[in-house]
């Protein structure tokens, strides 16, 4: 099954005291629900794309938004919920106010606290107007009668009152507040990236308590259960986009490929299900905001932990492997044939401190997402069966340190460990 990409990994590890059960019941709002107009539904559909609701709330091959998708976490398995307008099993009896309360405050209509796999920590930034539009759209999709499947969390994580502790530490309620010193475009980008885009769910390191702290927003981290590294969006040593052109950032978000690099793995899902549907204006706004996050300089020389003699052997073997298997597409000088064959020289994702992604790409290959802007992507072949652990380590070490790249060497053991990484 496809593994849910977003949010699912951010489940709390809060095991402290906190038996403060405070399931305060919100007064049920008595709202009338006029049928939403087609324009509002359309707007809501667009915003639901921006929020990538489909990624979690639709099971692979299942009915749209009927939920039931298994979401493995370190604490057990959660199942996404039915958000179709079915009155018994979906959200057919909800009001727009109740929907907003869930998006904004992480509380279901009965007042219960929901697990932070639902990224309400980001969605809290969404305006009431946009929340209402998404709700109008969800009420217009075909209702599906499918009961929600109970979660299978292990003790003590199955105690929802623990969420209260998690919320105290990591949840800050509040709609997005524009920064008056920045342009409208920057603010629009920030609103989308911080809110519906919920990018921080993967691109912010999780601390020991399974939460992501505001002060380290977008600094990157390994995604648990998936073994992909979500690079920092603030450091130009990783995926910081400070030195990218607005066009290249926009291309990457919209089509999945660009002159500078290509998306694979969990980010391919985000482009496939969400970002490719954004308008030119919104894509550009996100690019402007993301570019402004990028700080610092490109990578400096890394200090290798591997002894020089061993490292020079690695490099020689790496070059041999590279010339035999990689150079035809990526070029003798690592320039690639962008945007179809991504460049390796100067590519931040190759040389960043974590070598997880380049090792995985060599082992498993991968296709960028097929998008309207790139409907027939070129695929990278998997080499898990062709290359030994030593050869994988050698070629990854070689590309991380050639042509001006400044990553350090990787070991055969690292390569071996990633052979068993979950594929999807």
């Amino acid at each position: 099954m496809r593994r849910p990409r977003s949010g699912l990994d951010r489940i709390f590890v809060w095991i402290g005291a906190a038996a403060l059960i405070a399931l305060s019941h919100l007064p049920a709002a008595a709202e009338t629900q006029p049928a939403p107009g087609p324009a509002l539904v359309k707007e809501g559909e667009y915003l639901s794309r921006a929020g990538d609701c489909i990624a979690c709330h639709t099971a692979p091959g299942g009915a749209l938004f009927a939920g039931g998708r298994a979401m493995p976490t370190p604490f057990g398995t959660l199942y996404s919920t039915n958000i179709t307008p079915d009155p018994e099993t979906g959200i057919g009896k909800w009001t727009a106010q109740q929907f907003y309360t869930l998006m904004h405050n992480g509380r279901s209509p009965d007042g219960g606290l929901i697990y932070p796999a639902m990224p309400f920590g980001s969605y809290t930034k969404v305006t009431r107007k946009d929340s209402d539009a998404i709700f109008a759209y969800l009420r217009a999709v075909p209702p599906v009668h499918a009961a929600n499947r109970p979660n299978e969390l292990r003790f003590p994580y199955n105690n929802r009152s623990l969420i209260l502790g998690w919320r105290t530490l990591f949840f800050q309620e509040g709609e997005y507040q524009p920064d008056k010193t920045k342009s409208d475009e920057w603010n629009r980008g920030a609103y989308l990236v911080q809110g519906l885009g919920h990018c921080s769910m993967c691109h912010t390191p999780i601390n020991a308590l399974g939460g992501s702290s505001e002060s380290r927003a977008f600094e990157g981290g390994l995604i648990p259960m998936q073994d992909w590294y979500a690079p920092s969006l603030t450091s130009n040593k990783e995926a910081g986009l400070g030195e990218w052109s607005i066009k290249d950032i926009s291309d990457l978000l919209r089509t999945g490929i660009s002159a500078r690099g290509t998306v694979y793995g969990p980010m391919a899902e985000v482009v496939y299900n969400s970002l490719q549907y954004m308008t030119d204006e919104d894509t550009r706004a996100m690019a402007v905001y993301l570019k402004s996050l990028g700080q610092g300089r490109p990578p400096e020389a890394a200090v290798s932990t591997i002894p020089t003699a061993e490292s020079s052997l690695l490099m020689r073997l790496g070059q041999t492997v590279y010339e035999a298997h990689c150079a035809t597409c990526h070029g003798a000088q690592g320039r690639g044939m962008p945007p179809d064959y991504p460049p390796l020289a100067g590519n931040q994702s190759i040389q960043m401190a974590s070598a997880v992604n380049p090792i995985r790409l060599v082992l498993n290959g991968g296709y960028p997402p097929g998008t309207e802007g790139n409907p027939m992507p070129y695929g990278m072949p998997p080499f898990a069966q062709t290359l030994s652990d030593d050869e994988v380590a050698a070629v990854v070490s070689f590309i991380r340190s050639s042509w001006g790249n400044r990553g350090d060497a990787v070991s055969a053991r690292q390569a071996n460990e990633l052979r068993s990484a979950p594929l999807n």
């Binding site: 091959g61 482009v271 597409c329 296709y367 097929g370 992507p377 072949p381 998997p382 594929l423």
Partner: protein, 238 residues
Amino acid sequence: MTRAARLRLAATVLVALFCGLTGARAQPAERAPDTMEARVLACAPCHGGVGEGTSNDYFPRLAGKPAGYLYNQLLAFHEGRRRYPPMNYLLEFLPDTYLRKMAEFYAAQRPPLPPRPVPIVSKEVLARGQSIVTHGDSRRGVPACAGCHGPSFTGMEPAIPGLVGLNARYISAQLGAWRYGTRTAAAPDCMQIVAGLLTEADVTAVAAYLSSLPIPADPAPVPRGTLAMPLACGSEPN
């Protein structure tokens, strides 16, 4: 500066500009070949460059199988109905239109068939395989493979695959996958029914016999509707 000097300078600048332009034009950025073969290079390590198969027993030949069959499999991997993580991973974010193009590409390929391996099972097992494959087992309701996959086992358009050129291990793994439900097809899932009727020994015999079949002169699948199929299959609309 004299008028002549100004003219010379202007001419020099113009020539320089022109050279700059042609220079830039003379070196266009190299692009990847605009072919399907280049696009499906990701499949080559296991299936061969044009789907001719590889020496690895567990990976099937794709070339020449009916496009409808290949498309159904690509879609099933894409949606997770057919489970094999390396395939599910590669196809997860590719649109249907592209999967169909891939299927059509492999269906149109006609690379030579590999030499048949010498069967490593006994004559009796091979004979039992031949009997089931060509006649079925009416006592247990097992239909003959040839009934749907064609008299020379090259399959039928649009969606019944050929069985020639497949390795015994691959065939037996697929029959097992149907029995255990890790491979499924559109309902009614005829292969699930058939695989459920076979014993372990039947599977070994059938796989051994099919993998030993001679290579037909014409590897193309027979046209749609050529065979009156013994049971209804969701994948092959009649």
